[in-house]
């Protein structure tokens, strides 16, 4: 057995060229083969790649989908995002636990099935959902969970439980997924009829500088959430010193409630690859990387094949479209379960085979990115916009949307609404109109931009979705009349606590402290001064944090203090002695009582 482990690891490492930078591919492959990257495996990998064992351990321990302990042959990862909870994931979880006879985070005694929770897997419009190995199961119920377990007990092969494929390319032989695209509204940019590779053809007839100018004239801003002007980013990358440059596509959409890139990757991948190729041409790069989140691994074989087809058509590789000297190819880097890797410098770290820690800025990726070379990292949707801008012209693009935010935005809408799904709408749409469009009535709150965005109430529904008013990377979660906003905020804080990389103090500790105090308030142990405490803690966390995660993670609390203050205030109750019950003497004594082995004689009862 140990010999085979040694041989397999040797083969995997050799396949990756014994390249330390490909460590993610190595550990992903080992995990897949053995259900773990065991201690022994770490030693062997370190030996093969000529690195230190602790470096391997450092990476393995960072990503949620990798583990030193052996997981079951089948891993059920049940999504416990808020939207899944709204859709009854708790009863699904119970059904799985009962049927398997294990709790969350455990593996059956025969080593066959592991059950665990995972944060948002990008299926909020068809929640509750789960990943069973790489396969996505949607619209789960407790009955379905029981059926799945019964089937697994027969053959332990999730592929055999396949029910019916979803629409479009979800039915493609290489995808064979039950996922539904859920495109509810097609707009003029991403989901429009177009000339295949029209943008690329036109780009190749222009000079790279002209391409960048066109993108700048279109005033395109990044669609991932940060909103940095794309043309400017490309200009910096083009101007930076370096023979080798990289184009990276950020397909690690992990913001809870976001699933728009899933649809692009399934249906509009050609537009995406076209945009990346144009990016390569514009900045002077011959190599692109598509960083695909592990949750979307079910699309990996399909995307690989589509890349191969583009190569065969001469749209990737050497002398693209017959243009001598213009070379560009794309490889896919699979992630391993880490929200932080959606942050561009963390994503680069991950591509380099490192922990997904953000990098120090400056230098910015445009100066020193992937393996120290100038790199542009753009969102999936951004690349698609570029291809369309070049095809139709900047003037066409700026006609769409609002003055400060040209173009359309893909919105992933989920939660309490009749028609959850993906909507392509022009920037500048009011929240009110959006809610009408998605069939949401009697709305208490809308979370725009996911938990790192903000909770807004009805008095703000006249506001518009755009960079200058309410920006969003795409997530819109609707909360109906009866939803508990503070409990929801607490759940989102839990998400940030879990997903913080832990590199810097304010994010690593601040989020924990904020969540604790919020939970105290929810438990009726709060006092009015707690709001100032939370406000200040949130400000320290935002100001001090090193990357976008900690700079926005206090938002669920800060935006609810701002927009839903009465929800907090009604929880502050004075007790009979006129004091706020922030201190519970009995629970404070319980530890001491445990050590002493006797009960307090004063605080009895």
């Amino acid at each position: 057995m140990s010999k085979s482990l040694e041989q397999v690891i040797k083969d995997i490492c050799e396949e990756c060229g014994k390249d330390r930078a490909r460590l993610m591919d190595v550990v992903n492959a080992v995990q897949k083969e053995f259900g773990a990257v065991s201690s022994q495996a770490m030693d062997l990998i370190a030996k093969e790649l000529d690195i230190h064992r602790v470096e391997v351990e450092s990476v393995v321990s960072f990503y949620a989908f990798l583990s030193p302990e052996t997981k079951g042959e089948v891993v059920i990862r049940l999504c416990n995002d808020i939207v899944d909870k709204m859709r009854g994931v708790d009863s699904v979880a119970k059904a799985f636990e009962q049927e398997l006879g294990i709790g969350m985070g455990e593996t059956t005694a025969d080593g066959k099935i592991t059950l665990e929770y995972t944060p948002c897997i990008g299926m909020c419009d068809q929640a509750p959902a789960a990943l069973i190995n790489d396969m996505v199961f949607t619209y789960l119920s407790s009955d379905k969970a029981r059926e799945i377990v019964k089937e697994l007990k027969k053959h332990n092969d999730p592929k055999k439980i396949f029910a019916r494929s979803g629409d479009g390319n979800n039915a493609h032989a290489l995808v064979r997924s039950m996922v539904h695209n859920g495109v509810r509204k097609k707009g003029p940019v991403i989901f429009a009829q177009r000339e295949e590779n029209g943008g690329l053809k036109k780009a190749l007839s222009m000079s790279p500088v002209e391409v960048i100018h066109e993108v700048k004239n279109a005033r395109l801003r990044g669609r991932g959430g940060a909103g940095f002007p794309t043309g400017m980013k490309w200009e910096f990358t083009r101007a930076a010193d370096g023979d080798k440059k990289y184009v990276i596509c950020n397909a690690d959409e992990g913001e809870p409630g976001t699933f728009k890139d899933r649809v692009i990757l399934t249906e509009q991948y050609e537009l995406l690859f076209e945009g990346m190729t144009i990016g390569g041409y514009a900045i002077g790069s011959d190599e692109g990387i598509l960083y695909l989140r592990a949750e979307y691994a079910y699309l990996y074989p399909f995307l690989q094949e589509m890349l191969k087809q583009r190569r065969e058509k001469g749209l990737l590789g050497k002398d693209i479209s017959g243009k001598t000297g213009i070379n560009f190819d794309i490889r896919i880097q699979l992630g391993a379960g880490a929200y932080i890797c959606g942050e561009e410098t963390s994503l680069i770290s991950s591509c380099e085979g490192l922990r997904g820690d953000p990098k120090t800025r400056p230098p910015f990726p445009a100066q020193k990115g992937y393996s120290g070379s100038p790199t542009t990292v753009n969102n999936v949707e951004t690349f698609c916009c570029v291809a369309r801008i070049i095809e139709k012209g900047a003037a066409w693009f700026t006609e769409i949307g609002s003055q400060g935010s040209p173009g359309t935005k893909l919105l992933s809408v989920s939660g309490d609404c009749a028609s959850p799904g993906v909507y392509e709408l022009p920037f500048g749409v009011t929240v009110k109109d959006l809610l009408q469009e998605v069939g949401a009535e009697d709305v208490r709150a809308v979370l725009v931009g996911g938990p790192s965005g903000q909770f807004i109430g009805p008095e703000m529904f006249d506001k518009t979705i755009c960079y200058d008013d309410i920006p969003t990377g795409g997530a819109v979660v609707v909360f109906g009349r009866d939803r508990d906003i503070l409990k929801t905020a607490s759940e989102y804080m839990e998400f940030f606590v879990e997903e913080s990389c832990g590199y810097c103090t304010p994010c690593r500790v601040g989020n924990v402290l904020m969540k604790q105090r919020l939970d105290d308030i929810i438990a009726g142990k709060g006092e009015p001064a707690d709001l100032d405490y939370l406000q200040e803690l949130g400000e320290t966390t935002k100001l001090g944090s090193r990357c976008g995660l900690g700079q926005t993670s206090p938002n669920p609390i800060l935006s609810t203090i701002k927009n839903f203050r009465p929800d907090y205030e009604k929880l502050f109750k004075e007790n009979e002695e006129g004091m706020n019950p922030t201190f519970d003497i009995k629970s404070a004594l319980s530890d001491g009582e445990g050590i002493a082995g006797r009960k307090s004689v004063i605080y009895t009862e």
Binding site: V497, T505, P506, T540, G544
Partner: protein, 235 residues
């Protein structure tokens, strides 16, 4: 070409630095001390503790990693920034298990010294009391994870100065910790008492055995003057 001089201000005081320097480097040379914990001479700035965050033209930046540029306006010892600094120090105290009264690093500890400099008598945040372990396997050195503040100095010193990579970070978030390059124990690594990595810990997480409490109270590093005084004396 002569080294280009740049001029900027820290809290209204004019500071002259050289192009390519970080704000902290320029400030140190000018005798202006900016509180810090992870930054250490001879090591690449890590930018993780965030104690040295200042406002640069109104935007928060870590002064250990941010390059100084001509004309920038830096705010450091303002009431607002000092408040956030204290909060961050507080966070480090409650996140681990720091018992200064019987820690042998007491008086030589940078975390403790920063707290005193910033006027913290006791943290205002609730103690987390995490359960952390201790590795006393090595005959000369021990690691007490209770006191580790994850500054990364030992990781870098071992890798870049000692050429060994004895330490590296594992896990993430609240579970993040220092691990050693062995299956479990420090004794199984090639660390040596003379390694630079044993000398860089700002707190009492990496401790040399056999010399505990060797310096009497009164002669310890920060007994008479606050941390940063050596830099401020240049002024």
């Amino acid at each position: 070409m002569a080294e280009q001089t740049i001029t900027f201000t820290i809290d209204g005081v004019e500071v002259k630095g050289k192009a390519g320097q970080t704000i902290m480097q320029a400030a140190d040379e000018a005798g202006v001390y900016i509180p810090r914990l992870c930054a250490f001479k001879d090591l690449t700035p890590h930018g993780s503790c965030r104690v040295c965050v200042v406002l640069v033209n109104g935007r928060p930046q870590a002064s250990c990693t941010q390059p100084a540029t001509e004309g920038m306006v830096v705010e450091s010892e303002t009431e607002e920034i000092q408040k956030h600094r204290r909060n961050i120090i507080d966070m480090l105290f409650v996140e681990g298990n720091h018992f200064c009264m019987f820690c042998e690093k007491s008086g030589n500890c940078e975390l403790q010294a920063q707290a005193y400099r910033l006027g913290i008598c006791a943290p205002k945040y609730p103690y987390q009391f995490p359960v952390r372990d201790l590795d006393a396997s090595h005959p000369d050195i021990f690691i007490d994870h209770n006191r580790c503040i994850l500054c990364g100095r030992c990781v870098q010193a071992s890798r870049d100065l000692d050429g060994k990579t004895v330490f590296e970070f594992v896990n993430r978030g609240t579970e993040k910790k220092i691990a050693v390059n062995a299956e479990a124990k420090l004794a199984d690594t090639d660390i040596d008492i003379s390694d630079k990595a044993c000398d860089v810990c700002p707190v009492g997480a990496i401790i040399k055995k056999h010399i505990g409490f060797a310096t009497p109270v009164g002669r310890r590093l920060y007994d008479t003057e606050p941390i940063g005084s050596d830099i401020e004396k240049k002024n």
